[in-house]
Amino acid sequence: MNTLINGIFKRDMALAFRQRSELAQPLMFLLMVITLFPLGIGPGPVTLQKIGPGVIWIAAILSSLLAMERLFRDDFWDGSLEQYMLSGQSVAAIAAVKVLVHWLVSFLPLALFSPLLALFLNLTVDMYIALMLTLVLGTPLLSLVGAIAVGLTVGLQRGGVLLALLLIPVFIPLLIFATSAVDSAALQLPYRAQLAIIGAMLMLAMASAPFAIAYALKVSQN
């Protein structure tokens, strides 16, 4: 336990807050992408409300791809990853803690931004609540599944675009269920089913992704 909390959690937290600017970049990217939409298709409030949930989620997925890349990158190149693997601790547990820290520092701030996003895209309060719920349930899923692909591509010199190619198709169901939840909220319909499905996918990912990440990291060490 000491290993995980002191050795990884505190370390990664300290590192994240020491490289704050790098943390803020994906968030700024998200904000800017969302600004592009009203500029590109016109500021009509009705149109914006209609496309809003989709736009926010697509931007979140794209910015997550940017943020995700740094999850294992530094540790791989400076050799810390080798040291983790030889520490005698379960690599899956280490990976899970690293993903947790990464989620806390790069996705949780998204929640702070979301009222602004809702305002920009003219979302109603009901839609905003649904959006928050899908973000809270959905972004850990992005982190967990994304980390598998990050683990696989970490050793490649130019893994950035490849990461997007691998992950975008995998994230499509999440996009569909999340936007459909917000759409339902707009129509005052219940959206518990969508949330339940996202929750189920999250459970599945929590149970299996750490092992897949551990295996992926082992493969990239070879």
């Binding site: 591509t153 190619l165 691998l166 198709p169 995998v170 269920f177």
Partner: protein
């Protein structure tokens, strides 16, 4: 555990197996494909709604079904490779990927060509076509990941993990796309009406399905031979093989 097995024997034996199996897959496969196509094109009765355009079904449905099953087979091979650390399983997996991608492409293309007379447009965000498109992306991702590694052993394992992640997603994608499609009914003009299929229509379909399955197996086996040679080219048995196969044109 496998200590008594000479470590080099496995790929060589796998190669021999591939050589043995290839003709049994390839020729019956081609035969069934030709038979199914001719039967379907010329002898099967017309569909009362769609006329002769429905004959595209004889290539569209087999390729749509088999594009999914090839992906599942790939994932099974990857699982075998990861769990039992079987090197040849990864080779089988990566041999299947391009074939699966081509079959997926065929399913998409024939779907579009069928859609034009039915819907009046080449592309409609129909549930099945959209799933096929995403499946194609999944295939391309696996192939791209495999290509990105220089060490092919590592590449096989990495692509295997991605294939497994994909296969968990395939049913979810399928289901979510169905959901999305019913939600946005406006986008679709009409769904594929499955022709009320008569036995005379069904038989050629089944034959074409069998033919395509055998064909995929044959090409998989061919490509697996290539993978084995690529990884084992420094072994004496490959050199003997090359000398035997190319001996003639060397003399010329």
């Amino acid at each position: 555990m496998w200590k008594w097995l000479h470590p080099y024997a496995k790929p060589e034996r796998a190669y021999q197996l591939c050589v043995t199996l290839q003709p049994y897959f390839l020729w019956p496969g081609i035969l069934c494909l030709i038979a199914g196509s001719i039967w379907g094109l010329a002898f099967a009765p017309q569909d009362y709604q769609q006329g002769d355009s429905f004959r595209i079904i004889y290539i569209h449905v087999p390729s749509a079904i088999l594009s999914m099953s090839t992906y599942v087979a790939m994932a099974v091979a990857a699982l075998v490779g990861i769990v039992w650390q079987w090197r040849t399983a990864f080779m089988a997996m990566i041999a299947m990927a391009p074939v699966g991608a081509v079959v997926t492409f065929i399913a998409l293309f024939t779907g579009a060509a069928w859609g034009k007379p039915m819907w009046g447009t080449w592309w409609v965000w129909d549930a099945r076509l959209t799933s096929e498109l995403i499946l194609l992306f999944l295939y391309l991702g696996v192939i791209a990941l495999y290509g990105a590694f220089e060490d092919k052993q590592q590449a096989g394992k990495a692509a295997g993990v991605m294939a497994l992640v994909g296969v968990v997603n395939v049913p979810i994608i399928h289901y979510s796309v169905e959901w999305w499609n019913t939600l946005h009914q406006g986008a679709t003009i009409s769904k594929f009406d499955k022709p009320s299929i008569a036995p005379e229509m069904l038989w050629p379909l089944l034959i074409a399905l069998l033919g395509l399955a055998l064909f995929i197996a044959a090409v998989t086996v061919m490509r697996m031979k290539n993978e084995i040679i690529r990884r084992e080219y420094h072994r004496p048995w490959v050199k003997d093989l090359a000398a035997r196969a190319l001996g003639d044109d060397h003399a010329v």
